[in-house]
């Protein structure tokens, strides 16, 4: 049935009320006092006395010297900083370290090392799932957690039947879209993930 573009858009359109945002809060002139926290990073308890403004990302990179987790944008737009917290992937730049007292944090360094790579890391090497390597730790951490999400039956935007969540290339592309690769190793990343999925299935 022919329809006009306007008709079709109206059917799907919905008004969205924008919440007003407040002005900038006054910048505090007194330094916030350091906070003592413990992060369980890759299975090891790491005690830190830390400025509460430090992101989880900077706690890892600058305080614990775990520089495998990358900073691509520092505000939740690229996925280079992806780590797992209690098994779920998050953008570590969007979370403060002090919010994770006692949490189990998983980073790329905890997955595997040269000579003893995690299957996902090995698949990325075999399929050339990266070029410059800067987005890569984030892609790999994200991919491992993403497969677990599919196994757990968590649906995505492209899932047709919410009761039947299954692995597919389209699911991978949708669920990995928060991890930008400007070198655009995308086809190779999808191939690597497919391999790991098939080997584990």
């Amino acid at each position: 049935m022919p329809v006009t573009r306007r008709d079709a858009m109206m059917i799907g359109g919905a008004a969205v009320a924008a919440a007003a945002t407040g002005g900038n809060a006054a910048v505090p002139h007194q330094p916030p006092a350091p906070v003592a926290i413990t992060l369980r990073v890759n299975g090891k308890a790491r005690r830190l006395s830390i400025d509460p403004r430090v992101t989880l990302l900077d706690a890892l990179r600058e305080h614990l010297h775990l520089t495998g987790t990358k900073k691509g944008c520092d505000h939740g737009q690229c996925g280079a900083c992806t780590v797992t917290v209690e098994g779920r992937r998050i953008n570590s730049c969007l979370s403060l370290a002090v919010m994770h007292h006692g949490d189990a944090i998983g980073t790329i360094e905890g997955l595997g090392r040269p000579g003893a790579l995690h299957p996902m890391q090995a698949a990325f090497v075999a399929h050339d799932g990266f070029q410059c390597g800067y987005c890569t730790p984030g892609q790999i951490c994200s991919a491992v957690a993403m497969l677990a999400e599919i196994r757990a039956g968590i649906p995505s935007h492209v899932t047709d039947d919410l009761m039947q969540v299954a692995f597919s290339d389209a699911e991978v592309r949708e669920r990995m879209s928060g991890n930008i690769c400007r070198c655009a190793a995308y086809p190779n990343i999808v191939a690597a993930i497919r391999d790991v999925q098939e080997a584990g299935a």
């Binding site: 049935m1 022919p2 329809v3 573009r5 858009m9 505090p28 002139h29 007194q30 330094p31 400025d51 403004r53 900077d58 990179r61 600058e62 775990l66 520089t67 495998g68 987790t69 990358k70 900073k71 691509g72 520092d74 737009q77 690229c78 280079a80 790329i108 360094e109 997955l111 595997g112 040269p114 790579l117 890391q121 090995a122 990325f124 090497v125 050339d128 990266f130 070029q131 410059c132 390597g133 800067y134 987005c135 890569t136 730790p137 790999i140 991978v172 592309r173 949708e174 879209s177 928060g178 991890n179 930008i180 400007r182 070198c183 655009a184 190793a185 995308y186 086809p187 190779n188 999808v190």
Partner: protein, 750 residues
């Protein structure tokens, strides 16, 4: 060694390691997060302080007042630099002291990038202050306390409004062959169309970042740069110190795409602050700063006039380009590919550059060709449609064996454009294309096919390397060459292994350190071929040294399986190297073979798109690129280079657009949420085919580059496919939904 006559047979031709797909040797380090990028050298800089740069809040004008007192009093702050207290630096025109005279046509100190030298603001996010503190959080908070007042001046921010003032750039003179006007006027079939391409951002994933440490009067700088000796020159020149007082390390570079051919605020400000504080300082640009503080691919307006006879033979080719830049900035040479791509007796190519007050325009992946082909290859599609000739056939009919401007005395060294087009047509299933737009449907989706030709000029640059064979039988390669994701580590290991008859795991490669021999670096697709050629000569010298030490003077010496053999005798390389090892250096310089022969890599891109007939959303369903680019040293990494180029080409076609606020003179969409680059969901499985080719005029290793060829023409193939799907001919990139919706000629179907 000067490479000035075509290469004969040499050990690279064995094809034992070279030419074979080889996973990256730096792969295990990268996938485990252990490869260090410039901001990540903790052990080298104990007690590092953090610098946060503040950028200008106007596009043009001057600082009228700057108050740093609150910032200076803020907790943890060690130093606040502004133009009032920053040390004097040297601008372009001042080479580092003691450096040799620049080459002809090169400005002395052309890589200089002084910071904080006065109240004048030339572009948005130009550095106006650096705040250094004990911690990043302290520096960032204090930077908010620097109060800057400005007097904004009117600026020129709109290319379309300024283009009439354009002048002929020094390095893009008019190119006139035959009588274009008469031939175009007389041509039975013509197209006269104007395309525009927007400003684009490299958007590599690693932001510019630098860490500076002084040991006495010597600076060590960990920075993210594509060409190490350019960084040395730029930093030394800006600071006014000799180049041997600056060591630059760029061992791993998180993408560049041209952005990191230049230096910006981070290395200079880090170096100044570190010297003043007597401790290491690191400075990283924030993601939003990158868009207005650094460089970008400048916008173009391009008028294409093509005149053909009824068989499709081009009689007249006219390409006019308008672009703009800061004073001293280079033109976007979007007509360059039009010099070489098609035959035609009457040609007129002109570039006009006008002054703009936007941030500096500079090189981004395939400068010139990437945007030039967006226009030329769509105009060819328009011409094919007018003539009723298949677009592939039209291109084949206009093939040329020689430089069409210079004539048969300058033949192409290799040119497989026709083979690329034919191979691609067959593999892609081009015969299934219906030339009438809107005929092929898949439910509510309209399906279209598009093709475009690709050409990227072959550039070569002098390059050196040092090699050493150890008593353990391991070959170590050292060169300033960088790996920005291109695969340099791996292809150099392959070349070393091939030359010395070693397995690749007996080769170690160390890159991106200015204490190594100067090298081509990564830019202009010259890296693999040029640095590989430099390594080739270094290895040849090492082979001679090994043979001499072994006492083999025969010319018929074989290197294989870790052994050298001649006349029935054989010895292990490890044993000959002995405790002290054997070392050699080598360097390639290029003669005038690129003048005698037109040298370029060629390709053909094929795209299938689906366009939603209601929303006009475009999905690229599949793509194929066929490339002929000389010897492919590593088919796996070369394929990845092409895939990356294809994805960036899809971005250029469909989404990438730095939007200029012409009132205030800055790029509005300055982050990754607003400047859209392709994500996983945008990119389908894509195919790359390399045709067999050796270019013996290009270098002793007979290779060319693919990193830029991969993007050249891709966007045009996508745009032509959108036209085939919808009937909409969009001449303003990118092809966003609203633009397609305004021009679609095919009815919607639910």
């Amino acid at each position: 060694m000067k490479f000035e006559s075509p290469a004969g047979r040499n050990p690279i031709d064995q094809g034992r390691v070279v030419g074979v797909a080889q996973p990256r040797i730096d792969g295990p380090l990268k996938v485990s997060g252990l490869a260090p990028y410039s901001h990540e050298y903790h052990a080298e800089a104990p007690g590092v302080a953090y610098g946060v740069m503040l950028g200008a809040g106007i596009g043009k004008g001057r600082i009228t007042a700057i108050d740093t007192s609150a910032a200076e009093a803020a907790p943890g702050v060690l130093l606040v630099l502004t133009y009032k207290n920053a040390p004097r630096q040297f601008d372009i025109g001042h080479a580092p002291p003691g450096s040799p005279a620049p080459k002809k046509g090169e400005k002395p100190g052309r890589h200089n990038a002084p910071q904080l030298q006065g109240p004048a603001i030339k572009h948005f996010d130009q550095s106006v202050a650096l705040v250094v503190a004990e911690s990043f959080e302290q520096a960032r908070a204090a930077a908010q306390l620097v109060h800057v007042s400005y007097a904004a001046a009117p600026g020129k921010f709109d290319l379309a409004a300024e283009k009439q003032h354009g002048t002929v750039p020094e390095d893009a003179p008019d190119s006139v062959v035959g009588d274009f006007d008469a031939a175009f006027a007389a041509a039975p079939t013509t197209v006269d169309v104007t395309y525009t391409t927007p400003d684009q951002a490299h958007s590599m994933m690693e932001p510019q970042a630098s860490m500076a440490r002084w040991d006495g009067d010597t600076l060590t700088l960990w920075t993210s740069h594509q060409i190490v000796h350019w960084a040395v020159d730029g930093v030394a020149g800006t600071l006014g110190i000799p180049t041997d007082k600056v060591r630059v390390i760029s061992a791993y570079v998180g993408g560049g795409f041209g952005s990191k051919l230049m230096i910006y605020g981070d290395p200079i400000l880090a170096a100044l602050a570190a010297r003043q504080l007597g401790r290491p300082v690191k400075v990283a640009l924030t993601r939003p700063q990158i868009y207005n503080h650094t460089s970008h691919r400048p916008a173009t307006i391009q008028r294409l006039r093509l005149g053909a006879d009824s068989n499709g033979k081009l009689l007249a080719i006219g390409h006019d380009v308008w672009c703009g830049n800061q004073p001293g900035g280079e033109p976007e040479k979007a007509a360059d590919q039009t010099k070489l791509l098609y035959a035609g007796a009457n040609r007129l190519l002109r570039t006009r550059q006008t002054l703009l007050d936007l941030p500096l325009g500079a090189s981004m992946r395939a400068p010139g060709e990437a945007v030039g082909l967006l226009a030329l290859e769509c105009a060819m599609d328009e011409l094919a449609e007018k003539l009723g000739i298949d677009p592939i056939e039209l291109r084949i009919r206009n093939d040329t064996r020689y430089d069409p401007e210079k004539g048969p005395e300058r033949p192409f060294s290799t040119r497989q454009l026709v083979e690329c087009l034919r191979t691609g047509a067959e593999r892609f299933g081009w015969s299934r294309r219906d030339p009438v737009p809107g005929k092929v449907r898949d439910g509510r989706w309209l399906i279209g096919y598009g093709v475009a030709a690709a050409i990227r000029n072959n550039l070569t640059v002098a390059s050196g390397a040092r090699v050493r064979l150890g008593g353990d039988g391991v070959l170590t390669i050292q060169t300033q060459m960088t790996d920005i994701g291109t695969g340099s580590y791996t292809i150099l290991a392959q070349i070393g292994a091939e030359m010395l008859g070693l397995p690749i795991d007996k080769v170690r490669v160390e890159l991106g350190d200015s204490s190594f021999p100067q090298a081509a670096g990564s830019g202009g697709s010259w890296g693999a071929n040029s640095s590989g050629a430099g390594l080739f000569y270094a290895c040849r010298n090492l082979r001679d040294a090994i043979a001499a030490k072994a006492g083999y003077n025969s010319t018929d010496v074989q290197f294989a399986d870790g052994r050298i053999s001649a006349n029935g005798h054989s010895r292990s390389l490890a044993e000959i190297a002995g405790h002290d090892g054997i070392a050699a250096e080598g360097k390639v310089e290029f003669g005038d073979l690129t003048k005698q022969y037109a040298q370029a890599a060629f390709g053909a891109h094929f795209a299938e798109v689906a366009v939603d007939s209601i929303t006009c959303e475009v999905r690229v369903r599949r793509m194929l690129s066929v490339c002929a680019a000389g010897r492919i040293i590593n088919p796996q990494t070369a394929r990845s280079q092409c895939l990356g180029g294809m994805a960036m080409g899809i971005g250029a076609a469909l989404m990438e657009d730095q939007i200029v606020d012409t009132r205030f003179g800055y790029f509005v969409n300055h982050d990754l949420a607003e400047y859209h680059v392709p994500v996983h969901a945008d990119i389908p499985d894509m195919e790359v085919i390399f045709l067999d080719e050796l270019d013996d005029k290009s270098s002793p290793i007979k290779a060319k580059g693919v990193g830029e060829l991969g993007i050249c023409g891709v966007g045009a193939a996508v745009a032509n496919a959108v036209h085939n799907a919808t009937g909409a001919r969009i001449r303003d990139y990118p092809l966003t939904l609203d633009r397609i919706m305004a021009k679609i000629t095919v009815p919607a179907v639910a």
